[in-house]
Each structure stands twice: as C-alpha cells, then as structure tokens.
Symmetry: C2
DNA sequence: TAACACTATGTAATAATATAACATTTACAT
DNA sequence: ATGTAAATGTTATATTATTACATAGTGTTA
C-alpha cells in the first residue's frame, strides 16, 4: 500500500466528479461541469487530471481520450491498467486480474526493455449489447 | 491470409511515407510531408489513415496519436496489436508473439464480452536508453 | 453502354483536445 | 520567517480530428 495522498481543492473537485460519473468523462465535459465551482480554464482541468493519473486515482482511456476513476481500491499508482470497452454503448470497465497482470509484467520483464508500466484495452460488445 | 488490398492514390502516398519512416508519424507531420504531392487538407490524411488502419497496413499508437506501418507481414487486419514504447527516445516497436496474442484473446473470450480486438502498450526504457 | 452503388477525392470551415508561458499563491518543513 | 515544492489563475495558442457539402473515379450488372 502506498501512503494516502491528500488532494488539493481542484484535484478533489475533479476527482469527485469523475468518481460519481457512470461513464468515462472527457476533459472539456469535466471543465463544463466544474465551471460553477470556479474552475474556468482547460489547463486547470488538465493539471488536476495529470496529477490524479499520476497517483492512480483515475485512469486515462487512451483510445477515447477520456478518464475514469480507478475501480480497484488498492491501486494507488497505476503501472498496470486493463479495460474492456464496448464499441456499441461505450461502456468501459476496468479489469483487475492478478494472473493477467503477472503474465504481462513477466512478459515485459523478459522482453529486453526496462519495463515500467502497461496499458491494455479490449474492444467488443459488452454483455448487454451482445444480446440485443 | 486476407485478400490483397489495392491502395488508392492518396492511401499509397501516405502508406509509403509511414512505411519509410523509422518512427511513428503524426497526422500533421504526414500532411506536411505530402503537401508537395498534392494532398493539402487534414481530412485527406485522416481518411487515408482510417482506411490503412482498417485494412491493417498501419497501426495507431493511441498513447502518442501517431501511426506506424505494420511490421508483421502476415497481419492484414489488426485485431491484436501490441507495442513497446520507450519513454525516453519514443522508439516504438511492434510485438508479434503468438503466445501473448493467444493468451489475450483467450482471456477476452472468457470475459463475458463479445470480443473483437485488443491493443496493448508497454512503456519503459528501450535497450539503448536503459544502458545510458 | 447506361444506370447504379460504392469508394475515394477536394475544399472550407470548425470542433475537440492539449500545452506554453508567465504571474501569483498556498502548504509545509526547517 | 524563510525557503522550497506544489498548486493555482489567466491568456493565448498549438495540436488533433471531424462536419458538411460537392465532385470524381471504379466496378458491377441490367
């Protein structure tokens, strides 16, 4: 376990918004939603997002340019992220599977590079959408 | 093996440029490089890129918004892509490892979703950079 | 060959995503 | 109280990507 981070004002406002959201949020949608709380500029949002990603409270879904709260309570720093993404409803869920992450970090360790992290995105239809 | 695609004029110009490049290329850098060949607008580039990705001739490196030619001659449609990315020199190399792709597609198949593809990006220091 | 569908192209405008540069303030350890 | 690192505020701008609309090429098949 890492030590608990204290979030700054802006970081907390933005984390709370993302954490409450049922779906990944985009930066400018976040901006729109926090303007009433005094966060007026894109850069304020991006700075908080960068920090929140760095400390593992949120993850960026690279293929969507969107952010979700970490679903895995024990993950304070994200060195190993995996998601499944529905191409129909755009639902994203975080995968937390010890075997998978062991397999992938072992793979990376044995590849010749000095491995620091990975990101994996699966695409397809989620349970709901595939039965439609 | 899939059937061989014939590339259109713009697709061929853009594929050749990416294929010759030693590093991933960004869309506007591609645009700059093909203007002398009559491709003047971003959309012309993005349309060709979309098609080339679709038929598996190139891949998009999502974390970098950049494109590289497929290194794997037998891969005509990219349902399973993996890369290692150097955080220092930004070198990107495609990983083509049958065991890895089997492991990941099996994982996806057993996850409950109707799996169609994945993308995996490893980050760290490449061989050259780690010894500096 | 004419009619059709499909794919690709050309062009202008604009939307969406992200960062640079600079000034100021806050948190907090010494 | 002082130094330092982190965070904030603000303006402007860079970068990445799409919408909308008009036109042209390619290949089938009637």
């Amino acid at each position: 376990m890492q030590k608990q981070q204290t979030l700054s004002r802006n970081q907390k406002i933005i984390f709370d918004l993302i954490d409450k959201s049922q779906e990944p949020m985009k930066a400018y949608s976040i901006l729109f939603n926090v303007q009433k709380k005094g966060i007026k500029a894109p850069l304020q949002v991006y700075r908080a997002l960068d920090k929140l990603v760095e400390i593992g409270k949120i993850h960026k879904i690279e293929s969507r340019n969107a952010f979700i709260a970490c679903q895995n309570s024990s993950c304070q720093i994200s060195k190993a992220t995996a998601f499944s993404i529905c191409e129909s409803c755009e639902n994203v869920s975080e995968i937390s599977n010890t075997k998978l992450s062991k397999y992938l970090s072992n793979f990376a360790e044995s590849s010749g590079m000095k491995y620091s992290k990975y990101n994996l995105e699966f695409f397809g239809l989620c349970k709901k959408c595939k039965s439609k």
